[in-house]
Every structure is written in C-alpha cells, then in structure tokens.
C-alpha cells in the first residue's frame, strides 16, 4: 500500500491528482517552480517543495531534483501527470532505482511504444491495422521515394520521435518529396534531437479517435470506450467527446480489442491511450500510443462512471482491476472544451497575465478541472491551457447545449481566451451533425465568423453599464467596487497602478 504521493506536475492535473489522493487517504507532496508559488496545487497539497526557477528545464523537467524531494519528504510514489516527465522512460527507471513507485507503465513498455516507428512494429506484432508505409526510419531519399511509390501518393512524412505536428510534411507527388524529406528531417532534429523520419500513406479527411485502456499488473487489460478528438487546431486538440458519434458497438469492440492486444503485447500496465485515424469508410489505422493519463480523460470518466486516477493509483498499489470488460458500460455523452489563454482575434497569440475577473460556470452536468482563480497570474512559461470545461448530459445534443449554457456563464477578465471560439464551434451545423475530421476546425477558421455583433438591447445595456460604473466610481471611489483588489480599468491612473502591481507579482 502507498502512503504518500509526490505529484511531479503543475496546474489543473496536479490539483486533480491531489484530490484523488486525498479521497483515497494518501498524503500528497506538491512541487512548484518560482512561477507557481501562488498556484492552487501548492495550496491544496499536504506538503509543498520548491523545485527551481520558472523555466521547465530548471524545474518540472528536473527529475533529479524531484527524486531528491521525494526522498526528503518520504514520498513512496510519484504521479507524473501528463507532459513534462510523464513519458520519460529514463525517469521511470530512476524512480524504480530509488525505490519510488512510478504511477504509470514500466519503462520497457514506454520504450517499446515511445518511438512511432517502434510502435508501428509493435502494432504489426499485435496484428493491428496501421497506415501503409515504413516501420523504420528512412535511411535515404531513395528509400523514401521507393516506399512512397509502393504505397502511392499522397503520403505523409513524420518524425519518429514526433508529436504536435512538428517534423510532419504531406507530400502530393514525387517531385515534392526531396525538399519535404530534408525539411522534415531538420525540423525533427531541431525539435526532438532526432532526425529519424518515416513515411506513411496519407489518410484523407481522417477522424482522430482514441481508445482508453487500463491494465493491471496481473495481466488483465480492459478498454473504456473511445474518445472523439477530431476538433484540432494545428494538431492540437481543442474539443474532445465521448462517445464518438460515428462509432457503433461493433467498431468500438474491434478498436478496443486491438488496443488491448497492443497493450498486452507490449507488457503495458496502468492507464494508456491508443490513438487511431478513422477514414470515411470506418477503417481504422493505428497512429500511436500515449503511455500516460490524457488531458481529456474526464470525458471517459463521465460516460463510464469510473475515476481513472483512483484506478491508476490502485493499479500502482498492485491491486487487480475491480471489474471486467463486460462491466464497462457507456452512458450519456460528455464534451470537453480546452480553455486556452490565447487570442483568437490575433492569430491565437498566447495571452498570459493576471486574471482580473473570474466568473465560473457550475450546476448540473458541469465539471471544471482547472487551477485558476481571480487574481492568479497565468505564467508565460508553460502551455496556455487554463481550464478543462466538461459537460455531461443524456444525449450529445443536450451536452452541446449544456456546454453552451456554461460558456455563457463563464467570464475570464484580464487576459484573452478562446471561450468564444467554443461558442462558434458548438453552434456550427457541421459540428452539431458530427461532420468533423482533423481538418474541420482549420476550415471553419478560414470561413467568415457569423453573427457576434451585439444586439441593440445589449449595446444599450453596455453603454448604461459603462456609464453607471463611471458614476459609481465618481461617487464612491473604488469602494463602490468598480475595481477589485486588483487594479482596474479604465482611468489611466488606474492603469499605472495596475502595471505596478503586475510588476510586483513577478518576483
């Protein structure tokens, strides 16, 4: 049995894991960089230890420091969350060496599935369909040309160590292959320190659908249904759903059983996700396996009624899965919106800074996993995800309308966010009819944005509101509350004050 868990992560996922540990009676140790001293995961944990400066390379990626803190705090397990060290086999090994349980798969399984070319070989061994193409790095342009000729154009060049679209090139004809090959190699080299590139058939208008698997350390593995993740911008997921509107019982079973075969073949344990591309004829092709908890795991929790982090911990404690495949029943529909600090009106530029106003949604069917609060300064040093807003309802249509209701309740002030982008997507006819593929969102963003001009009534209310705020300000000063404890718009004097405060906050 574990007693004390160190959470080697930050933000919403650190808080979510701390909550799960507390519910299971486990003590928690938070770690933080200088940019996160005021973060909620530090406030929520039983213990909190400083890692180092803001830069991830000097804090959340410093496995050595994290293991030292585990030793000093007496933690007997480490949960890596997602990102950072979560898929670092070397760190998993270092944990085992220092007698700290790594809550995740064994390093061997991470290695076997970590590189995309190796994973494709594993897929072949597990008899799982994958896109036609090479299963090893391309040694030369000639090999690339030969392979492409064999499988036929258009083809896709991908970095074996890749992710997030880096080192990826679509190639329509032989003439373009040479330059694309060189570009992909150098980009991969720069991004991942490995220039290994492979080639696969390009699937037209694919859906991105992934299967959640869970394996205990006694050889039992189940799948918990699929997640529909086709709404992406530049290969980054923006909206996820469970179940997928296009996956029926039979396809789910076939994809699920293939995912389980792959996991068992690789000696996989704990939670993992097998990503597939699904074409318009509902053929599915293995894409890669993520050997960690996914950002979007909550949608699976809501439709299965399970708690994946509880199960991760119990599996890490050596317990057997408390259920079998036939016990896994999907009910209702869940949608997750990834709320980012970015400016859709300005090429999605990142928008870190102080959250000066925060009105959060709630009520029936709404779950929010986040680590933000009014007054929190969103650091510029990490990825821009502010919150995961999740809606559950009996049907997909109701889940969409419930999410729209929650988005209308949501106000985030002081920084820019993509909240309005979700309103646009959730009202789009193609999305509502589930006509989506990985190119859907980029196409939507090309098209003109329809109605978002304020109505006459709204404009009048805005003018009246602004006037009343000014009048209250003139009458009562700040005590009237036109600004909070954080300095406020609109007079330039206030602005100066705000800037000062903003400086103070960054030690």
């Amino acid at each position: 049995m574990l007693r004390k868990v160190l959470i080697a992560n930050r933000g919403e996922i650190a808080l979510r894991i701390i909550r799960a540990c507390r519910e299971l009676g486990l003590a928690t140790v938070a770690v933080f960089s200088d940019a996160d001293r005021a973060a909620l995961h530090v406030l929520a944990a039983d213990e909190a230890w400083r890692l180092g400066p803001a830069a991830a390379s000097e804090s959340y990626l410093r496995g050595d420091l994290i293991l030292e803190i585990a030793r000093r705090s007496g933690a007997d397990a480490i949960h890596p969350g997602y990102g950072f060290l979560s898929e670092n086999a070397g760190f998993a090994e270092a944990c085992e060496r220092s007698g700290v349980k790594f809550i995740g798969p064994p390093a061997s399984a991470m290695r076997a599935l970590g590189s995309k070319t190796r994973a494709r070989q594993a897929a072949d061994r597990a008899g799982m369909p994958r896109t036609p193409g090479s299963v090893t790095g391309l040694a030369s342009l000639d090999e690339a040309l030969a392979t492409a000729a064999k499988i036929g154009y258009p083809v896709m060049l991908k970095a074996a160590a890749g992710g997030g679209g880096k080192g990826m090139r679509a190639v329509a004809q032989p003439a373009d292959l040479a330059s694309a090959f060189a570009a992909a190699q150098s980009e991969a080299e720069r991004a991942f320190g490995s220039g290994e590139v492979y080639l696969e058939k390009l699937i037209e208008r694919p859906r991105h659908i992934e299967i959640q698997v869970l394996a205990d350390e006694h050889g039992h593995c189940v799948y918990l249904g699929e997640r529909e993740c086709s709404v992406q911008r530049r290969h980054q997921k923006v909206i996820e759903e469970a179940p997928s509107a296009v996956v029926g019982e039979d396809l789910r079973r076939r994809m699920g059983e293939a995912a389980v075969r792959l996991a068992l073949a690789a000696g996989y344990t704990n939670a993992g996700t097998v990503e597939f591309l699904v074409d318009e004829e509902q053929n599915f092709y293995f894409l890669e396996m993520n050997t960690r908890l996914q950002v979007e795991h909550p949608v699976t929790e809501l439709v299965t009624g399970l708690d994946l982090v509880h199960l991760q911990i119990r599996i890490a404690q050596g317990e057997r899965l408390p259920f079998v495949q036939s016990d896994v029943v999907l009910r209702g529909h869940a949608i997750e919106c990834r709320v980012y600090a970015e400016d859709p009106d300005n090429q999605f530029m990142p928008s870190p800074g102080r959250i000066t106003r925060l009105l959060q949604p709630g009520g029936p069917g709404i779950r929010e996993d986040c680590g933000i609060y009014e007054g929190w300064v969103v650091p510029m040093d990490y990825d821009p995800m502010l919150s995961k807003l999740i809606a559950f309802a009996p049907t997909r249509d109701l889940a969409i309308d419930r999410m729209l209701r929650a988005l209308d309740e949501y106000v985030i002030g002081g920084i820019r966010t993509n909240l309005n982008l979700f309103r646009r997507i959730l009202r789009d006819e193609d999305f509502r009819d589930a006509r989506i593929d990985t190119g859907y969102l980029d196409r939507l963003l090309q098209s003109a944005d329809g109605g978002s001009a304020p109505t006459a009534g709204a404009a009048r209310a805005a003018i009246a509101g602004a006037a009343i705020f000014e009048a209250l300000q003139a009458r009562d000063g700040n005590s009237a509350g036109t600004n909070a404890s954080y300095s406020s718009a609109p007079s330039s004097a206030w602005k100066a004050a705000a800037r000062n405060e903003a400086l103070h906050t960054r030690r």
Partner: protein, 166 residues
C-alpha cells in the same frame, strides 16, 4: 453626470443621473432616455435591469484594454483599443520611422539584428516566446534599425515598443 463614451469605436453622449429610489438610474444616450435598475453584486459585476430585461455587465480590469463583458459579448470601451491599434499597424505608415511592438506578452529569446543594421521589409528582427510558442517579429518596412530597446531574456508586455526602424 455627463460622459463621452467611446464604445466599440462609436462615440456616445451619455447623461447619467441617480434616480430617487436607490439603484435606479435615469440615463440619456445621445438624448434618448432610459431607466435602469442597477445592483453591484461584487466588484466589477453589475446586475442591470432595463424594462424587465436582465443583463450581467462585467467590468474587465484589464489595464491594457478596458472592456465590458456582456453575456458572450466582449465590448471594448474608451479610446485605447488594441484591435483598432492593430488595424492602424496593418496599413502601417511605411514612411518615416516605425516602431516594432510586441504582439504578445513574453520573453525575448533572440535579437536577430544590431543597432544600425539595414533590414529589408518583413525581415525578422526579434523573436519572443510565451507559453511554448515562438513569434518572430518582422520589420514592417525596409530601413535602418535606429533603436533596440530590448535584449535576450527581457520580459516584455503586449504592445511594448521593442525597436525603431528608420
């Protein structure tokens, strides 16, 4: 109280007078009178009822861009709206000195030129990074870099002037 409000680029003459009942306000917008029932729930959050219709008006305390949140709407008010500023920058004054401004808050990771360097239009000048995203700022015109106000490692605010090109 009389005000000139600049809302979403439109200028409005507004007169606002407290009513006899607390929370009631007599407001004239460009001469048209309306009665509003207002209640400040907490700092910046105003419940407004106009003719039975309820509005949630949230005053954003963003110092760089005063805005009101009204339902799903994000309504800029007062003069200094960065979007209009960006519009200005797009059809940027190609004549005379121009400034290179940060398009987002972040940290300067590379300075690609030196003071005095002659740059072509759209040539990269400075690279800033925030939230794992790098952004190369390009010279809006051909010319000479007469000022470099930042160095690698500096933290910059959105809209801050980083360099001047003559």
């Amino acid at each position: 109280m009389r005000l000139d409000l600049d809302i979403e680029g439109q200028s409005r003459q507004v007169e606002v007078v407290p009513g006899d009942v607390p929370g009631r306000w007599q407001i004239k917008i460009d001469g048209t009178p309306i009665e509003a029932d207002a209640c400040l729930l907490r700092p910046g959050v105003l419940s407004l009822i106009i003719g039975g219709v309820a509005h949630r008006v949230v005053l954003d305390a963003d110092p760089d861009e005063p805005v009101l949140h009204l339902g799903a709407q994000r309504i800029a008010w007062q003069a200094d709206d960065p979007r209009s500023f960006r519009r200005r920058r797009r059809h940027g004054a190609a004549e005379g000195p121009v400034t290179l401004k940060a398009s987002m808050p972040g940290r300067v990771i590379r300075v690609l030129v030196e003071r005095g360097t002659h740059v072509a239009a759209h040539q990269g000048v400075i690279v800033i990074e925030a939230m794992k995203m790098q952004n190369e700022l390009k010279s809006p015109k051909e010319g000479r870099v007469t000022e470099l106000r930042v160095a690698p490692g500096d933290t910059v605010a959105s809209g801050q002037v980083l360099a001047v090109i003559h």
